[in-house]
């Protein structure tokens, strides 16, 4: 709907030529010079804004035009739409070297705020941030009775402090802290007067009442953001803004902040002893401003927590209560970090809050900052943090995985607070099945987060289980979908994919026969065991086309790469063996989502090779399992890349150079298995059910057989026979259909090269089983290319020699 109209308009704005723009600018100049700035001017400025903002490249506006825009912005009486447009245009052009705008020319605080927005967008090339800071401070310090509204200035201050913490001096910080104290604690508790009192309204009619709480009761204490009224006074507005910027301000002016005095530690200690002494006294005005501000902040947060127990009359206010709770906990956390004496007062209050909220699913997002608080201060306060985590990690993900915002916040909580878990890290790592529920349901948003989180979750105890879980992740998505369908609806709009109906899957989910498997899949904690979920893969097949399952399956290869990068850091020899076995086993036991298997096979085969490279002796150690794998022929077509990697690894690492335990018997056994496999592969005809076997499988089989023969030389005649058969087969017309012409050609060439090589057994051994010193200085780093190069060279040599021989 918007695209079509917007597209053409944007195009026009972009394609306007310099000349036309120049004319337009002069028209604007004319309009802006008039005394009466009417709707024409506004209309033109709207267009100018679009022209400037539509393109990412610079638009050169006439200097006179720019100057006029700046002047108009600072006119004493200018309708707001015009002011706002001038500021917006100037801001859109920023950073700009030709700006002459300055805070000196502004007439009132609203203009000052607009000018500041333009100046702050310049990128602080000419100390604009400092300049703005000084102006704002000056304006804030002037206490004129009907003075300009200070409401417009606090947000600028907050932005300035965020952009450039060093912009304020120590005394300026103190001054502003004092004013914040006033606004936060001593705002009026009477409602404000409506703006338009009018000439005829009587004094009685204008009598405002007291402010109320969210549930309508009369306010019991000082004014906060959760206080209601029909109209608000200036200082009440400032109360709202002051609280909105409080946390950032406390961090800025705290002991870690740049505005701290030089004698840090000493004054801090003194300050805290003072506040401990005066903890119960209300005559806190003896405290220096920074400490007094903390005290006021503490009282404010406590009041908010009390106010949040009331039932709000409007939904918007109820949402605000939760946001206030989160902020209150965050501010209390900052306060306790800055001054430990707050901790003892805060703990009881927050423990009670936690107790109240843990049963309420609507407030679950407040539990995260609470948990962080207990994590940070738990030790100092001897709080049993374990109970907090148990609830958080056991129940929350299992019940609320479907909420995208909660999922994001929860995972961020895990990522950001790793350093706080300390000895309790196992609670996090053992809860990985629950965490994976977030990932399975919200994979696009959370994949990157989990790539960062996996190194923490993967350790020696969980590694194998996590690998299985990652390979079964799309299956988990399907199971979660079924779980939602079978539970009573939580909201009006169903949370699952309504376009997909799968009654058979739902039945299977409820079938007691499969309860065990589903429960294992949906378990909240690492169980230390593995279950074969192959029956579930079949049962859930109808759901494989579900969009959410498909999205999850797309994320799995990335996660697998991250997993293997992490696990190779912690893998011992035994663990590496276990992982290889998992790879082999799972390569044909995957949930059949379209393209999922192919992608996973690619990852698994490359990771298998990486593991072999790390620990070459595993080929000999796991010889039995590898033989079993190679014996199951039906798998070749569906997992060609896996087979190729295994066969290649056998050829490469099954020798005494890599493991002294390698026996001739083993080599012979592998030879036979591979020979059989090669036969099977070449004899079978491709059909509708069997995809054609890629020629790489054939060539790698041939090469590996030759390698093995070069190590156990009585196999050479057998291999030569095999190779010549293959060569003949490749030349026959029947060969080109399963492998394609190029494939057949490649097979033929390779067979020839190998045959030639075998004519000189010692050279063959040298080429095919090079010792370590020879192996390292290769001209090509890629192992897969070095061998063909060697083969080709030798072939040519042999052929040349053959042609030189007489007869």
């Amino acid at each position: 709907m918007f695209t079509v109209g917007a597209e053409s308009l944007l195009q026009q704005a972009r394609e306007i030529q310099a000349e036309e723009l120049g004319k337009f600018c002069s028209r604007i100049c004319k309009l802006l010079r008039e005394d009466d700035l009417g709707p024409d001017a506004v209309d033109c400025l709207r267009r100018l804004f679009l022209i400037v903002s539509a393109t990412k490249y610079n638009r050169r506006l006439d200097k006179t035009c720019v100057d006029l825009l700046q002047a108009t912005l600072c006119l004493p009486a200018c309708p707001e739409p015009l002011q706002v447009l001038c500021a917006a245009i100037l801001r859109e052009m920023s950073p700009s070297d030709s700006l002459t705008l300055s805070c000196n020319h502004t007439q009132n605080t609203r203009q000052l705020s607009l000018v500041a927005s333009v100046l702050l967008a310049q990128g602080d090339r000419r100390e604009e941030v400092n300049m703005v800071a000084q102006h704002i401070l000056r304006a804030l310090e002037s206490r004129q009775p009907e003075g300009p509204s200070l409401r417009h200035l606090l947000p600028v201050m907050s932005k300035v402090v965020g952009l450039s913490p060093g912009a304020l001096q120590e005394d300026q910080t103190t001054l502003l802290s004092k004013r914040l104290i006033d606004w936060l604690r001593y705002a009026s508790v009477q409602q404000g007067l409506p703006h338009s009192g009018g000439f005829f309204s009587t004094a009685r009619a204008r009598q405002p009442g007291p402010i109320t709480e969210v549930d309508g009761a009369v306010a019991t204490d000082f004014f906060t953001v959760l206080s209601m009224g029909h109209h608000f006074t200036e200082d009440q507005w400032l109360n709202v803004q002051a609280f909105s910027m409080l946390r950032a301000w406390l961090l800025h002016s705290g002991p870690e902040g740049p505005g701290a005095p030089d004698s840090d530690d000493k004054s801090e200690l003194e300050g805290s002893t003072l506040s401990v002494i005066s903890a119960t006294s209300t005559a806190g005005r003896l405290l220096p401003p920074r400490e007094r501000l903390r005290e006021v902040a503490f009282e404010y947060c406590q009041r908010l927590i009390e106010q949040s127990t009331r039932r709000a009359l409007r939904k918007g206010d109820s949402d605000l209560q939760k946001a206030c709770l989160v902020e209150a906990v965050l501010v209390l956390d900052v306060l306790c970090r800055q001054d430990l004496s707050f901790l003892y007062r805060t703990l009881s209050c927050l423990k009670a809050l936690h107790g109240r909220l843990s049963g309420d699913p609507a407030c679950v997002r407040v539990l995260l900052p609470l948990a962080r608080f207990f994590l940070t201060h738990g030790e100092a306060a001897a709080v049993d943090s374990e109970a907090v985590y148990q609830h958080l990690f056991t129940r929350v993900p299992a019940e609320l995985f479907h909420s995208p915002m909660l999922a994001f916040e929860f995972v961020q909580f895990c990522r950001d607070n790793l350093h706080l878990f300390g000895r309790n890290l196992s609670i996090l790592t053992l809860s990985f099945p629950n965490l994976f529920k977030f990932l399975a349901w919200n994979s696009p948003a959370l994949t990157a987060e989990f790539v960062a989180l996996l190194p923490v979750l993967v350790d020696a105890t969980t590694a194998v289980e996590i690998l299985h879980a990652l390979l079964d992740l799309p299956c988990l998505t399907a199971a979660l979908d079924l779980q939602l369908r079978s539970l009573p609806a939580l909201s009006e709009r169903p949370l699952w994919d309504t376009s997909l109906r799968s009654p058979s899957c739902l039945e299977a989910f409820r079938d007691p026969q499969f309860q065990g498997l589903f429960q294992h899949l949906l378990r909240p904690k690492a169980s230390g065991t593995t279950e074969r979920l192959a029956p579930l893969h079949q049962l859930l097949q109808p759901m494989a086309s579900c969009a959410r399952v498909a999205q999850c399956s797309e994320a799995v290869p990335t996660l697998l790469h991250a997993y293997f990068a992490a696990v190779t850091q912690v893998a011992s020899g035994a663990l590496t063996d276990q992982l290889v076995l998992v790879l082999l086993e799972r390569s044909d036991s995957l949930y059949r989502v379209p393209q999922f298997e192919a992608r996973v096979h690619r990852v698994l085969s490359s990771q298998f090779l990486a593991l072999c490279k790390l620990k070459p002796s595993l080929v000999v150690e796991l010889a039995r399992h590898l033989l079993e794998f190679l014996g199951s022929v039906s798998g070749v077509h569906s997992r060609a890349s896996m087979v190729t990697s295994v066969v290649w690894a056998v050829g490469e690492y099954l020798s005494v150079t890599y493991d002294r335990r390698c026996t001739v018997e083993q080599i012979n056994k592998f030879f036979e298995a591979l020979e059989a496999l090669l036969f099977e592969v070449t004899q079978s005809r491709p059909s509708a059910t069997l995809p054609k076997c890629p020629p790489q499988v054939v060539t790698v089989l041939m090469t590996t057989l030759t390698k093995l023969a070069s190590r156990s030389q009585d196999l050479i005649p057998r291999v030569s026979l095999l190779l010549s058969k293959m060569r003949t087969l490749a030349q026959s017309p029947a060969a080109s259909s399963p492998h394609g012409e190029e494939g057949a050609e490649a097979i033929h060439t390779r067979a020839t090269e190998l045959l030639n090589l075998l004519k000189m057994p010692s050279v063959a051994q040298f080429v095919l089983t090079p010792s370590a010193e020879v192996g390292s200085p290769r001209y090509h780093r890629d192992v897969n290319m070095a061998l063909p190069l060697a083969l080709r060279t030798v072939s040519r040599l042999v052929e040349k020699e053959a042609s030189l021989l007489p007869g």
């Binding site: 695209t3 308009l9 052009m93 608000f232 918007g316 949402d319 902020e327 994001f408 699952w496 994919d497």
Partner: protein
């Protein structure tokens, strides 16, 4: 603190790839510190970078929204308004959040909170430690205000030539990127103020 607010187009999930994601409006509150760039066109380069950062965010939001709608099986028509009388059900609109790593595309790591309404994407680019619950609420409020005051449900509505209204709303409800704890009464008060300066 909010670093930027943007509105961009959202194409329906199953539509062919017609055209690109367009940023219809963006506002950057203060700027990241420009690296010391003595070259003559440093300022222009900065602006180019800023614009491209915003576009990168818009594209990511669009794909997140598209994926979410696909995953929940909602029809693509969901993004179109049913009629101009029905209030837009914002609490069920597709929404989410994701993190941007440092350098990709902003210097500092940032969080993006987004909302999809009427084939428009609204997004806030925040600092990583901002109050997400408040940001979500603010974004929903801004979307509601913009839909109401710009009459986005009416046929032929567009917001490209209505930047002054958008700016007016932002200066009141998200001044300089400051997230405000506004209860319903405050919101009503501000809305009245806004309507006074911008009569319908």
């Amino acid at each position: 603190m909010v670093h930027a607010f943007l509105i961009h187009t959202l194409r329906a999930p199953h539509a062919e790839d017609t055209g690109l994601c367009r940023v219809l409006y963006s506002c950057v509150f203060g700027s990241e510190k420009s690296p010391d760039d003595p070259r003559p066109h440093g300022a222009e380069r900065d602006r180019l970078l800023r614009k491209e950062q915003i576009l990168a965010v818009a594209r990511q939001v669009e794909s997140m929204c598209r994926l979410q709608l696909q995953a929940s099986g909602r029809p693509p028509m969901d993004l179109q308004p049913q009629s101009s009388d029905e209030p837009v059900p914002l609490h069920e609109a597709p929404r989410g959040a994701f993190r941007l790593a440092a350098g990709d595309p902003f210097q500092e790591p940032r969080t993006v909170v987004w909302l999809g309404v009427l084939s428009l994407g609204f997004a806030l680019v925040l600092d990583t430690h901002d109050n997400l619950l408040l940001a979500e609420g603010t974004l929903r409020l801004l979307a509601r205000l913009l839909v109401d005051h710009l009459r986005l449900l009416a046929p032929g509505a567009n917001l490209l030539l209505r930047a002054d209204r958008i700016e007016g709303i932002l200066t009141r409800f998200l001044p300089h990127g400051q997230l405000l704890f506004l209860n319903d009464q405050f919101i009503q008060g501000l809305e009245k103020e806004f309507s006074a300066a911008w009569p319908r």
